[in-house]
């Protein structure tokens, strides 16, 4: 085994160890340790990606001295590497960009703890991406749930506290469902490692045994993860949580945490249950229904908002709906489109959240659309970043969002019967609604300020400007290399099974 193959293990351990070390460090050191750790992980992955490309397949990494059905394992493949790299970049840029705002919004002694939580989320994200073991996934889901709750309420106002209570309740219901699903899986197969479970379930599927429990398992996993991602009927906590917590926290929660959960679901479909079993199962329709509902209703919720951050938060609901609906479509093309959109949306939504908060600062700390008029002139770089992100979400050509819409449409057309019609209609309607609320906002940013608006002095931070420019460049690059990325993802999905 070459040294480079240890990268997943090194990244996870690095994140965990820096989380453990942070509480005893002074606040400044904690901050830079966290940033340094995330950048180290990004660098490790940049080293790792070419290796995985030349390596071709995937490999298992034993955590300890015992092979597959006995010990814990990690598994590295192309898709995992791409997702981990993308989400680590999001994490790094979010931390840097939200740093100044965070120092003003969170009590000084508690800032160190904030970075502990960031490190833990990083560890959880990496582990959920790379793990080859269902029970490890459960443990790290709980770590993610606790630490994202802490991130949410880091800025302690009434909204975030009530939202985090609601989040905890829903999230624990979700964990309960996932744990029952894992217990059922263990009961049927006697294994916890993904490949071994897959072998046994494939055997059952071939001779038609235990069809009902397998359906139930799929349904429970879908319901559990849907609750945790905050798609439509379970989204009550989301607008308050994302809308009032500090901007770095909102960016991390919407882009890293929910994406990691979603990727775990895809992994479970491909590697635990087997995609052919899943695709022929009735339970998948649950995903389609949840997805379409949250696509439409999330957008409608966004239109009804008077406050820019709640609008961006609601837009998150609708975008998670896209991912669910296109997995629910039940074809490989749909999964590839969803994975591409996962990357695009992670980069885009975090940029939106992070550019909104300087714009609000420039408008006298108000989040209402009326006061935000002309903010694009007052603070140029965040204005451009927001417009870029909004245009990408709407699907203006050359940007990443445009390509994901194209891939979505292609995948939907390849579907059959009423599913095709529903998805195409939902895509059209949701894009229209998206365009309405995002363009409305962007145009508002470049209008004359309302009369009687007094321009108040605000702090311009160089760090925020630089990171937002990098964010913008990354988003442009995604559109530029869309074809390559989708090729990577398609190969990765083939390797996943």
């Amino acid at each position: 085994m070459q040294l480079v193959q240890n990268v997943p293990f090194f990244s996870i351990m690095l994140a965990m160890i820096s989380a453990v070390v942070t509480p005893v460090l002074p606040r400044r050191a904690a901050k830079w340790l966290s940033v340094g750790m995330v950048s180290a992980v990004v660098c490790l992955h940049i080293w790792f990606l070419p290796f995985m490309l030349s390596f071709g397949g995937s490999y298992n990494y034993m955590m300890g001295h015992f092979p597959a059905p006995w010990g814990n394992e990690l598994r590295a493949g192309l898709l995992e590497t791409v997702i981990a790299l993308a989400l680590s970049i999001v994490m790094l840029l979010s931390q840097l960009s939200g740093m100044n705002k965070l120092q003003r919004q969170i009590d000084t002694p508690k800032q160190g703890l904030f970075y502990v939580m960031c490190n833990l989320i990083m560890a959880g994200m990496l582990t959920l991406t790379y793990t080859n073991d269902l029970f490890t996934a459960y443990v790290f889901i709980e770590i993610m749930a606790l630490s994202s709750c802490a991130l949410m309420m880091a800025r302690q106002v009434g909204h975030t506290m009530v939202a985090s209570m609601r989040y905890m309740i829903l999230s624990l219901l979700g964990s309960g469902l996932i744990l029952i699903a894992i217990a059922l899986t263990y009961n049927l197969t006697g294994h916890l490692l993904m490949e071994n479970i897959h072998a046994v379930i494939a055997r059952y599927a071939a001779n038609g045994a235990y069809a009902l429990p397998i359906s139930v398992i799929i349904g429970l996993f879908i319901a559990g993860i849907a609750i945790k991602c905050g798609v439509f009927p379970f989204h009550m906590w989301l607008p308050d949580a994302y809308g009032y917590s500090t901007s770095a926290a909102s960016a991390v929660l919407s882009s890293v945490v929910s994406k990691a959960y979603f990727f775990l679901l895809v992994k479970i479909f491909y590697r635990v249950i087997g995609i052919d079993v899943v695709l022929s199962d009735m339970a998948l329709n649950l995903m389609l229904v949840l997805g379409v509902l949250s696509m439409i209703l999330g957008s409608i919720g966004a239109i009804r908002c008077l406050d820019i951050r709640r609008m961006v938060a609601y837009s998150s609901v609708s975008q998670m709906g896209y991912l669910f609906a296109w997995i629910g479509l039940g074809s490989d093309v749909g999964v590839a489109a969803a994975m591409f959109h996962l990357v695009v949306h992670a980069l885009c939504k975090s940029m939106l959240f992070l550019s909104v908060s300087p714009l609000c600062d420039a408008s006298g700390d108000s989040k209402r659309f009326v006061d935000l008029r002309g903010a694009g002139y007052r603070y140029v770089i965040p204005g451009i970043a927001f417009s870029l992100g909004a245009m990408s979400m709407v699907g203006i050509p050359v940007l990443g969002g445009f390509f994901s819409k194209i891939f979505f449409a292609e995948a939907a057309i390849s579907g059959a019967g009423w599913v095709r019609i529903t998805l195409l209609a939902a895509l059209a309607l949701s894009t229209l609604l998206n365009a309405f609320y995002f363009m409305h906002t962007v145009l508002g940013l470049y209008r004359k300020p309302r009369e009687g608006f007094v321009r108040q002095p605000f702090i311009k931070s160089r760090l925020t400007a630089v990171t937002l420019s990098v964010f913008g460049a990354v988003n442009l690059a995604i559109g530029f290399f869309a074809k390559d990325i989708i090729n990577l993802i398609t190969t990765g999905i083939q390797n996943l099974a």
């Binding site: 029970f135 443990v139 709980e142 749930a145 606790l146 709750c149 309420m153 302690q156 009434g158 909204h159 506290m161 009530v162 985090s164 209570m165 609601r166 905890m168 309740i169 624990l172 219901l173 309960g176 744990l179 029952i180 217990a183 263990y186 009961n187 916890l192 308050d240």
Partner: protein
């Protein structure tokens, strides 16, 4: 009907676990009081653990603390016990965090009812 009942009787442990899960789930979802919700959460989690543990049980075998010279076929399956051990610790930490949140919320809103909390929170917004 009799068939189903006898089947449920042979799976008695698991059936009770599912019923307890239902009770806990319903309490967690429907009860207004936060403390009750947390107790419901605990019941739900222990029910899941009971479900897991009962799968490791093999009638007539002993706990997996190995004695010298005993046959390997004399012990129950140790895996579910290990998993549940992990689960219990997760459940106590989650409970502690929920209780801490409850205290903070009570200090702010002076109620344990999550719906009135939400109403007051919306009131702050106007």
């Amino acid at each position: 009907m009799g068939d189903i009942l006898s089947l449920l009787w042979t799976h008695l442990d698991v059936t009770v676990a599912i019923l307890l899960f239902g009770i806990g789930f319903t309490t967690l979802l429907l009860h207004h009081n936060l403390i009750k919700k947390i107790i419901g959460l605990n019941i739900m989690e222990t029910a899941t653990f009971l479900f897991l543990t009962s799968q490791g049980f093999i009638a007539g075998r002993a706990a997996p603390v190995l004695a010298e010279g005993a046959a390997a076929a004399g012990y129950v399956n140790p895996i579910p016990s290990g998993l549940v051990l992990t689960g219990i610790v997760v459940s106590v930490s989650v409970t502690a965090v929920m209780l801490a949140l409850t205290i903070r919320l009570y200090r702010r809103y002076h109620t344990l009812d999550i719906d009135s909390m939400t109403l007051m929170m919306k009131g702050e917004d106007e």
